[in-house]
Symmetry: C2
Subunit: 474 residues, 2 copies
């Protein structure tokens, strides 16, 4: 008998993967790190997830939950030989309750599929990561995913009312509920963003957002990135909270234009996409106000989309950004930090300086409204030393973000990538609080071990904290 035998007995042979070539598909996410996979299970029900957990526990194998694998921070990449429980087949929209504006969905439901299903009913699921056409609601829950429209609507945690979760003991718990103010201890919010370290989420109760009665999208071009950033600050200072405020720099505009030919102004230093939604009268007034602010800030071109087709064209470049980069270089490394909106320009200047110094090619597209930067480095991993140079620059870039008062992660999670930087942000006592919670739910460290908390923080209570540098390299 073996773990694989037990899994096959529970799920059938076609939904258990154990061949090295099959495992290779599940050993990384959309980031750069790879990890060791013991086996892969593809359950189709909560009961099957329970069976997977029990089998893994019997054989002492850690468990890593996985959605579509579009994460960028290594959250779904195992640090030791693990059972990957891929929840992509649990993709049923179980129940849509329009009166209460909620839906129970499986964790494998694709983000955009949910909105496509409910849009004709007048509602959509608000968080819209760039990967929304492939990423899953379960993965969004695991990383507390954001997206362009999270500026006004909040990230995933603001849209999850309850989860059904299988614990490390194979018990099924329901956390949260449909009420606007959850009663008892609010464990729902802790599960969102916990990257599968608290349990495996098997059903999700999401909030549905009414479709906006009117939408206006503006594309604004600038001779300097400062002008775009100035428009963002002044817009928010004017009391407008647009549905989205996205900046792309010249390298990114050129890359997407080469890729999708959306007609973006490639000669500009920066392009700002601003979208306002709401009552038609307010939309017209606010769009006009943003246009006036943009002209003051030196915009050289204003395009306005009033219907869905024009809007899709303006968004096409933004949404194709990562595809465009993938076309231009075989590998890319994408950062995700948040800096105070007021220090955007200064941070950008320092990031460009780092990129120049390391001689790497950096493209930028970011959620400017909430200061969520996404500097993207394109490279060829086959070049001698390229990967190392990119990673070294990456760490400097994250530290710059922290220095200006920013946060480690905007929306991609901590995963492997930023785990050891957590100690730069949290004190040992703060980390200990997180470790206590985690130990309460997973005392043996069987759920996605080695994630979120830096090595050693879980031993804090016992005075055994080893130096971070002793962490074995992956």
């Amino acid at each position: 008998m073996s773990l694989v035998d037990d899994l096959v007995a529970a799920l059938g042979a076609d939904r258990v993967k154990a061949h090295p070539l099959e495992l290779r598909v599940y050993d990384k996410d959309a980031g750069v790190a790879r990890g060791p996979v013991a086996a892969v299970a593809l359950p189709e029900s909560t009961a099957e997830v329970v069976a997977c957990v029990k089998a893994a526990r019997t054989w002492g194998v850690p468990i890593v939950a996985r959605g579509a694998g579009t994460g960028l921070a290594g959250g779904a990449v195992p640090t030791e030989p693990a059972l990957i429980v891929a929840l992509t087949r649990m993709n049923t929209i179980h129940e849509v309750d329009l009166e209460n504006r909620t839906a129970w969905v499986g964790p494998g439901v694709i983000n955009l599929d949910l909105s496509a299903h409910t849009t004709p009913m007048g509602f959509h699921y608000a968080p819209d990561p760039s990967s929304q056409s492939v990423c899953t609601i379960g993965g969004n829950v695991g990383t507390n995913a954001g997206g362009p429209h999270c500026l006004a609507e909040g990230t995933t945690v603001a849209h999850i009312l309850a989860v059904e979760m299988v614990t490390v003991d194979g018990e099924i718990v329901e956390l949260g509920g449909p009420a606007p103010d959850p009663i008892g201890l609010d464990l729902r919010a802790v599960v969102v963003g916990s990257e599968g370290t608290m349990g495996l989420v098997t059903r999700v109760l999401v909030k549905l957002t009414p479709n906006a009665p009117d939408v206006r999208t503006l594309l604004l071009a600038y001779p300097t990135i400062e002008g775009a950033a100035e428009t963002v600050s002044q817009t928010i200072a004017a009391g407008i909270i647009p549905a989205a405020l996205e900046i792309m720099d010249r390298p990114m505009v050129q890359a997407v234009e080469n890729f999708v030919h959306a007609g973006y102004p490639t000669e500009s230093a920066a392009v700002l996409l601003a979208e306002v939604t709401g009552h038609p009268a307010a939309v017209t007034a606010e769009a006009g106000q943003i246009e006036r602010i943009a002209l003051q800030a030196g915009t050289t071109e204003v395009r306005s989309a009033v219907d869905a087709a024009e809007r899709d064209l303006l968004w096409l470049g933004r949404k194709s950004a990562f595809g465009a980069v993938a076309q231009s270089a075989p590998d890319y490394y994408l950062h995700d930090t948040v800096v105070p909106r007021t220090r955007l320009v200064e941070t950008m200047t320092r990031l460009y300086e780092i990129a120049d110094r390391f001689e790497i090619s950096m493209l930028n597209v970011f959620h400017a409204g909430d200061g969520n930067l996404h500097p993207l480095v394109a490279f060829d991993g086959r070049d001698e030393g390229a990967r190392e140079r990119v990673m070294e620059a990456a760490e400097e870039m994250v530290r710059v973000s922290l220095e200006v008062g920013g946060s480690l992660s905007g929306e991609h999670g901590i995963g492997l990538e930023k785990r050891d930087l957590m100690a730069d942000v949290f004190s040992p006592i703060d980390l200990d609080a997180q470790a206590r919670l985690r130990d309460a739910f997973d005392p043996d460290g069987a759920l996605n071990p080695g994630k979120i908390l830096p090595h050693g923080s879980r031993c804090y209570d016992f005075g055994m904290q080893p130096p971070l540098s002793q962490e074995p390299a992956l």
Copy 2:
């Protein structure tokens, strides 16, 4: 030496209360239950809170954090002789950051004082419990307080970015942070609503909300409560999310009119207060739409306030509701449950039936937009059997709310009042998840013992769950 000696050494004699007459002031909240108090401490700094916690732990005395004591569910009422740590003197607004729209405040800052301080700067603190002129931010955090304007803005948890908290070991942790997407495990949200069972919150980072560019308040009178409820449903179905939607029934309208003479239409069966905020053009359009819906639903009177003075007059009755009831009877008991908006009328009918059967006087004022009911029972506790009859009716009313798919608590917390009903809502496994979290932060049960989780749920792991009826009466 004694607990009181240690406290006096740390805080000075004038900020430690131990005389029975002084303790009496701290043995209840605004609800009906009283509990035993060992001593009261009034710290003025985080360091003093640490000293209080350490002293209480040395002497084996449990610790109950307390704000202004305006809670209604007994969250601040001790179940065994406890040290009450009243945080009302930690009432400094430490720092207002307008660019990032946040403020660090002490837990003792009064809710309305914070908004009064920031309103001239263009911002306010959105959650507005009825007690906002006296209740504290710390108490709001403890109960995850709501208020009329939480319909559009969300309850307290949506407005708290970070907390500084003293743990049961006297350590100071900071949970959460200024970034829109908190990194690491989101313990901030668990602390909100945990009624002092995770630690003592000593500083709070709140989100500030821009003042609305325009506001319109409507008072709508109806010959039936169904008409008011119909207006609420149709308004929300039309895609409008008003800033507030409050219904008062005839007994309540009459009580407030007797009390404050706000000119409310006392002959109506129900009064609906609807407030829309936003861009002036949208406000005008939406107010017009609500008025048309109300006329369709049979409203007999529409009053509209466009300036602050008129608006204050329309709100005066609503905000005086509890004072009005206090004037009409020496005691009152206020419920707080949430039912699906679609079952409001049916629930109200059943609540009136229960009140009639128990021959008690019930008045209603509620957050209709999110189905948060507040049936209020006025009585005279000196009447033979009155209190028992009220409590019996209360339990029936809460069970009706649960039967129609509602929740135990909208915004007042669980406290003592609803603790033993938690087992009607959560399975033993669900309760165990909450108990695990709590045990991780407070293994000895020293922080507000006997709250939130029903008796026995913390022993679940050991198979020792006693029947709930064995819980000793308070």
